[in-house]
Symmetry: C2
Subunit: 443 residues, 2 copies
């Protein structure tokens, strides 16, 4: 914008005044002067909506117009942008965003479920009217990955987008790694200090990360959103024995979310993965998130930062508002929705990579040979096979026939072969429980 | 942009057809269809300029108008954007960029020296006419740090921007760390394979990183560019003994470029620094660069990727072109030049932090006590002090009185105190060479 041209304020309506919404109001109040200089115009909140008008949120609401119904705020003639911080896949969030777009208002949302489920139809509505539908805050908190994919990497064809996209699971795995200890005890502790929900299934089961991945896949590859075709495994089955074995082998275990372009389509997957200790992603600990891409020109680019939190999320909402204030209105998924390509799913059984396998094997003649034979029959080539006793598994050191852990690392192979071999090994009766299998991610 | 509105092509002139320029022409040719979809209009190269028209660059130039003089291309009525890839602080680069702005053309440049020295005056010219002056490629190659600072972090007040901003030095330090070996031998090898220039002083002396830091400081803090006030130390004095001692102590040595807001002003510095092995920045190896910020709302955000190379640089040039194609024209330094605040320099002697000190001490009675007394006299509190013999220093294990290395780690202290103590220790005559001092960066 040319210097000296004074633009009208951008008038903002905020629906949802939880910690993020209240944090946003404080940020916009405290940084008002700086934002006006940077955007060339004022970012002015004019209306708000929430369930309770009287609740103390530590921020003065008296100068804002109050709306009991978010849909009414969304359609108010006094706003230019509607900020949706209500949450939830449908309900008031979806209804009010639709109302805002129908009324010709730009939309900013931090709602990953809304975008992962309804992003395409909402984007089509926005594009049809030349409106913004911005959702930087919906993916990986403060990390500016949506803008990086939508704008900075425009000249690149991507082959992979991946990262650590859930803070709760990364916090639990980090503590399991650095303190030892079992999943369930550390989960309970995480719940006690507020890093995990009372019902942790959405996070620890990998579903939260999957929602973010679905959005990033579309931005990275220009394909239609396909949340339902993501292969999902959580971290519930990761044990102290796996963490210890990974450490011995030079790896860390992370809940990885990855979308990869393969010959048979796009693989979208969320699962625990072994990453080399020496990779930067291995050092991304606690509630920090990271997202990395493999791009044909830019190469390997990684972004890391807080994946959640009121302030970090508010920072990304403001980034989206600043874009609108500056007149940057882009197709929400980088290319017009009508030009998104059909999503072709690559099946996990066709996934190729190295595997870590931990077996609990009865210590008796022939067991070891039977296992090796089953692997060989599937053409699986082994990088290493180690029989070890660990306290963590509680094996009795001198009880003949008692189960003892065997750790196998395979060379690159197809997942279908691994699954067949492990099924056969289990059927053979040499193991006292189902095999543990963790994929090794090549970085 | 609204769907269905067909915009005119963005007409591009490229001056300088070295590896980056030729790479840019190939990228724009190969990704033309995708870029047109993503930008809503064609990115069309119409004119080029270079020293030699006949040189084979592996790309067909016949469809472009040829200009012997970059200034003539810059002023051509056939272009909308002038891309400056000539290089150099002044000369043809500066003259042609000025010619382009005077003729009302947007400018994209990969030239860090031009921006670090003349960025303010060029930005003022651009702003006055509502033109873009984009330089994502001038700082840290493919890493989208300029857009992150200019746009994504708009709602944040920053307290520090720092990172690894030079690939040559990071390559040398990484090899010293992982292979052992001395600086000079690895530098010679880096020169042989093209990772270091024949005259390496600009890189290994820290000056290349300083140019990038000067630009980032202005983007991060909104202060006037001040290249001349950067404190600069190169990596020439780092020895295998330091690398080994760092490893033992849980650190890696990196050439750090950092700008920090302090009570007495802004500290800009480029110097070798100890960073914890467990920090993500410690894993940024080889020619990879990274830039991190400490922001009040977004928290700690880090970006990493290729810091140089024709393809990575071309990727960032295209990002800048895409912004212009989409109509995003921002003040080059995020705020108008007239609103940049005066740069107030914080002196290095007021720098506070921990220090690593390696002394080569004559092994005789009283030496150790004299050193400890000098540190105490300056109020310096020691975290650890270790006397050790290493082969790397060539101390004779049983030669009485022969020098032996002493490693000291201090608690947080002021640099002036450290310098006075080390001067006194040297004057006392207990050391056989000047002390080595490396700052420890708190992350």
């Amino acid at each position: 914008m040319a210097a000296g041209v004074r633009q009208a304020p951008l008038r903002i309506g905020v629906a949802g005044l939880g910690t993020v919404g209240a944090g946003l109001l404080r940020l916009l109040r405290d940084q008002a002067g700086m934002l006006e200089v940077r955007c060339g115009r004022e970012l002015r909140v004019v209306g708000v909506s929430a369930r309770s008008k009287s609740k103390d949120r530590g921020v003065d609401l008296s100068s804002f117009e109050w709306f009991d119904a978010p849909e009414a705020l969304a359609a108010s003639p006094h706003i230019d942008v509607f900020v949706e911080l209500i949450g939830g896949e449908g309900g008031a969030a979806k209804a009010s965003v639709e109302a805002a777009l129908a009324a010709g208002k730009h939309v900013v949302t931090a709602n990953k479920a809304l975008i992962a489920h309804h992003g395409a139809s909402l984007a089509a509505k926005a594009e049809g009217r030349g409106l913004a539908l911005n959702f930087e805050a919906a993916v990986a908190g403060a990390i500016p990955i949506v803008k990086a994919l939508r704008e900075s990497l425009s000249g690149n064809t991507l082959t992979r987008v991946y990262g650590i996209m859930n803070g709760t699971t990364n916090y639990i795995l980090s503590r399991m790694t650095h303190e030892g200890g079992d999943f369930s005890a550390i989960l309970a502790d995480a719940q006690a200090i507020g890093y995990a929900e009372a019902d942790p299934a959405f996070d620890v089961g990998g579903h939260d990360a999957a929602h973010k991945l679905a959005i990033l896949t579309t931005l990275a590859f220009g394909t239609q959103i396909s949340l339902d075709s993501i292969y999902i495994e959580g971290i519930e089955a990761i044990t102290a024995a796996d963490i210890g074995a990974a450490d011995d082998l030079g790896y860390r275990i992370k809940l990885l979310a990855a979308a990869v372009r393969t010959e048979s389509g796009i693989e979208q997957r969320v699962h625990p993965a072994m990453v080399p200790k020496t990779a930067a992603i291995a050092q991304v600990d606690g509630v920090t998130n990271c997202v990395a891409v493999d791009a044909d020109h830019a190469g390997g680019v990684m972004l890391a930062g807080p994946g959640a939190g009121a302030q970090a999320t508010a920072s990304s909402v403001v980034s989206d508002l600043a874009d609108i204030a500056r007149g940057l209105i882009l197709p929400p998924f980088a290319v017009p929705v009508a030009q998104l390509k059909p999503y072709q799913r690559a099946q996990m059984r066709e996934h190729e990579g190295g595997y870590y396998i931990r077996l609990s094997v009865y210590d008796r003649p022939g067991a070891f040979a039977a296992i090796a034979t089953r692997m060989a029959a599937e053409g699986i080539s082994l990088e290493s096979i180690v029989q070890r006793r660990t306290r963590a598994l509680g094996a009795s050191p001198d009880g003949a026939g008692a189960p003892t852990p065997v750790i196998i690392i395979t060379h690159r192979t197809m997942e279908a072969a691994i699954r067949r071999a492990l099924d056969a090994i289990e059927r053979d009766g040499h193991v006292d429980r189902p095999p543990q299998m963790i994929r090794i991610e090549k970085l």
